[in-house]
Amino acid sequence: MRQRLFNTVCFLILLVLAAVFIFPVFVVVINSLKLKFSITNAPFVLPNAETFSGVENYVTGIEKTGFLSALGWSLFITVLSVAVIIIFTSMTAWYIIRVKNTFTSLLYYAFVFSMIVPFQMVMFTMSKIANVLRFDNPLGLIFIYLGFGAGLSVFMFSGFIKTVPKTIEEAATIDGCNTLQVFWLVVFPVLKPTAITVAILNTMWIWNDYLLPYLVIGQDYKTVPIAVQYLKGGYGSVDMGAMMAMLVLSIIPVVVFYFLCQKYIIKGVASGAVKG
């Protein structure tokens, strides 16, 4: 009896909290369908016949920010960066663990060290170097992301590789595989759960990253966060209608990604933390 009462109380608390968690997104969605004045004057009121604006906010927002191309660049940069990070950091981590010497352990500690350094420490010099080397374009940015993502990714891969027995690799070598084949055909399939975790954590970071792409390539190839921030512009007032519409449009891909990969995301976050 007491147990049931306790469960009911817990359930009610959770229900209220869940409403609190969903409410902000709900407010943005209803406001994206309203005329500008009604957003700033009465943000918590549902649109009615007088204030309903249809898709007008979406149309002006997309035009002003170039949102569709921003979506394209965000996808391009995120997908390729994550792929590049997975391919190269897994190989590096394996090499570090299998070839143990002073150099590789120094390298390992440098990767771990990079994880606690705030971005502000390197942002100015890094964007200058990127500029000089002509990395101020989407492909250059992907290379920069490999460098920045390497810390966490190498760390997580090496944590797992330590537990992989060498015997399967030796067996494959005796069967005539060269080292690249050993890694990609024998070792990498075993690393798959870690690779998924690394991919999820990097996707969440790169998709939402604002400052790094802004400093490296600026406004030429806007990503989604840069397009949203662009609406605020230099001076004067913000078009709140367009802003609401762009917020909704930037949340949609995230929600789709979340529902498609929920199982992996939750697992990835939990296991990523255990190894940290």
Binding site: A18, M204, V224, P225, S271
Partner: protein
């Protein structure tokens, strides 16, 4: 002993990652330390000035110390609220309450939304509430402060909750059963068994919330951008403004960045040291 046969694969396995790491991190980091002792506009014109930048950082009227204090207050309150709420949510969600999976899904969702978008979402909500009193978020720094705390809680609680849930589920049922048989109440079970057993989760959650609170930038930029009069400016934004909004202060910005790095590193390592020690004891 013969040479490790893998070593000749260095150029394929390590070099691409190493070059990217050098260009994106190691070289900028070393250059950053060097430049913090110089005056420069374009990097190549750097003139050595000793510790002048470090003195200027506090005396240039940009409110560096104030932004640091603001960040510390923000971090302390956020770290406590996020971890307490996330831990209790995890406790409830590991009990036999209906719909746990759905609740977990909902609580985690805000974490996937980027900082810029989060900032603008909460700006609308907070301005909407303050509108009833004829205020806006920028009329008083207190509003901006609590706005950031609420935003941070909304974003991070779900993430920490997932980590705590994983920790709680790792506790073996035998121990909990034994405690029950011995007549331990809920409070004793919580303080003597559950909390000591999830110490590794607490370590990582504290680490993540502390470092993320200190490094907060996007949310700060979108929610208030420091308004009113830079009084809701956090350290990361203060450094950014020093670099990009004030000509001739690049060296000062870099000196601030070095100090910021040292502060974050010392706090993070101290926290890891203290909580890891607790893990060993339990």
């Amino acid at each position: 002993m013969k040479l490790n046969p893998y070593r000749k694969y260095f150029p394929i396995f390590v070099l691409p990652c190493l070059v990217a790491f050098l260009i994106a991190f190691i070289i900028p980091f070393i250059m950053g330390i060097f430049l913090s002792f110089t005056e420069f506009r374009t990097v190549s014109d750097a003139q050595f000035v000793g510790i002048e930048n470090y003195i200027k950082a506090f005396a240039d009227g940009s409110g560096f110390l104030e932004s640091l204090w603001f960040t510390v207050k923000f971090a302390v309150i956020s770290v406590i609220t996020i971890n307490v709420i996330a831990f209790f949510l995890a406790l409830i969600l590991t009990k036999s309450v209906p719909g746990t999976k759905l609740f977990r899904t909902i609580f985690f969702m805000p974490n996937l939304i980027g900082g810029i978008v989060l900032g603008y979402i909460w700006q609308v909500i907070i301005n909407g509430v303050l509108l009833n009193f004829n205020y806006s978020i920028t009329s008083n720094p207190t509003f901006g402060f609590w706005g950031l705390v609420i935003l941070m809680n909304w974003q991070m609680i779900g993430y920490m909750m997932i980590i705590y849930i994983a920790g709680i589920q790792n506790i073996s049922g035998d121990i909990l059963e034994a405690a029950k048989v011995d007549g331990a109440g809920s409070l004793i079970t919580l303080t003597k068994i559950i909390i000591p057993s999830v110490m590794p989760s607490i370590t990582i959650c504290l680490f993540l919330t502390i470092t993320n609170s200190f490094k907060l930038f996007d949310q700060n930029l979108a929610l208030t951008a420091g308004a009113p009069a830079n009084r809701t400016q956090m350290v990361a934004l203060n450094i950014y403004e020093t670099f990009y909004s004030r000509n001739g202060y690049e060296g000062v910005g870099q000196a601030k960045a070095v100090m910021f790095f040292i502060i974050v590193a010392v706090i993070a390592l101290a926290q890891l040291y203290f909580t890891r020690r607790k893990e060993v004891e339990s």
